[in-house]
Amino acid sequence: MNILELHDVSYTYPSGTEALKEVSFSIEEGSSVALLGSNGAGKSTLLDVLLGMHPHASVTLCGKPLSSYGRKEVGRLIALVPQSEHFNFSFSLLEYTLFGRSPYLGQMQSPSALDAQIAWEALAEVGLAGFEERSITSLSGGEHQLLLLARSIAQQSRILLLDEPTSALDPANRRRTLSLLKGLHSRGKTLFFSTHDVNFAAELATHVVMLKEGRLLAAGLKEEVVNTKMLTTLYGTEMRAQTFDGHTLMY
């Protein structure tokens, strides 16, 4: 079943910049999709479109136009892990993770004990148990990324959008993030992530979407789409894709 579908989606910013041009593809429920493309290819705009920030009638979520959903309904189906988040106020880790429960709260409702339990379990899942009362302004880069992931886990959505989840991580935190995302994927969560880390994409993705200058270059199963020719065309520089022991390596 396709959980998300795009049909001829174009988007032009008010400044006149044409970011997406007639992009069409679909995402199967339970798949893990890597969004690849050079800087300025339109990856962030595409994530914004999937999130519903640029209302588009040609995007469907679970068979219905995305624009027909209320904000909280979308929040219960799609969670976002941004590339980074600038913290100006020193919420505790638990408070910040609880923000992920907002789509389930009424207009004037505050989180319940059950919400706190879900947030606590999300923190434990990413390895931040015991730090619930710590301030979010005191986190290292790796912990910061794990916290963003914990909030999205607490959101209990069916789809997780991730904007370059490993861009600021050292190898150990990159491996930890990969392991966490593999765990979420194995439990049925649909992942859609943009990345410049092609080997991270090779390890995590079942499907690949390639964007070049706002246009769809290719979309499909990783094994069918990723090859030396496509990667070289996508990035405009010589690239190689090889398979060793069943693992795809791109460089």
Binding site: R71, R76, N88, F89, S90, E95, S110
Partner: protein, 319 residues
Amino acid sequence: MVMATLLFALLSLFFGRYPKPGFSIPLDWKSNALMRSILFNVRLPRIALALLAGSMLSASGYAFQMLFSNPLVEPGFLGVSQGSAFGAALMIVLGASSTVAVQVSATVFGLLALAASYFLARRFRFGGWLLRLVLSGIAVSAIFSSALAVVKLVAEPTKDLQDITFWMMGGLWNASWAQIFSIVWVVILCELIIISQRWKLNLLSLGEKTSFSVGINVKRDRTILLVVATVGTTLVISITGLIGWVGLITPHLARKMFGSESSFSLPASMVIGAFFLLVSDTIGRTLLPTEIPIGLVTSLLGAVIFIIILSLKHQEGKV
């Protein structure tokens, strides 16, 4: 904190220059008509106005800081203070005989400044929504500042200019029950709306994409809260004149004491704001034989507290 504020409110009823300067409890107030009038028609409305204005300015400051995700903004951020000041000065120069006319003009021009900031921000083609609002607020403030300077230039120096100057320094000396009843219902409604949306304020202080992804209609909710906070502020300063620092300092103090999550720190900030303004007014009306405008007292106390907070912040590395 609430008890301390109420206790100080009770005590400040007996601070003043009658029957003797400083603190005195007049035991003969029942038989002394003048004393009764001073207590119930002068000091009590003044105390009530201080509590109302302090809590509203603080709630607005808190909301503005969360909405702009910036702990250094305050309620006058979108040109509202300068707009109100211009409105009041214009009415004084035009020879308005009643303070109500000055209040109405200050309110109308404060709201006009907000509307101008909002519509300018929509027309700007530079940066995100928040940055555009900030930039349009700066432009609108500058325009009303210039207009205010022109009004002061043409003001009659022995009376009108003095009235304008006093209005801009803030003061509760004109407080009356009639004035309070003219704004109290709307101000309390604004306060209740802000309190009811305290969870949303947390979310709106995050990045725009994050707020959106957790189910918030960012533009709509931010606009509603900005309008509510500004209306409350404008109504208060239409009576009190410009009072700085309350909306800037008290949210910081509340967050220091109760953490950044708004469920506790927003109501705490409002109580602290009420207490802060009451203390400032009591000092202003009792310290010297002549009254010190409350805006001067809040500026002095606020600056000292600000320095202390920033020093603590530097040590702890958090707001």
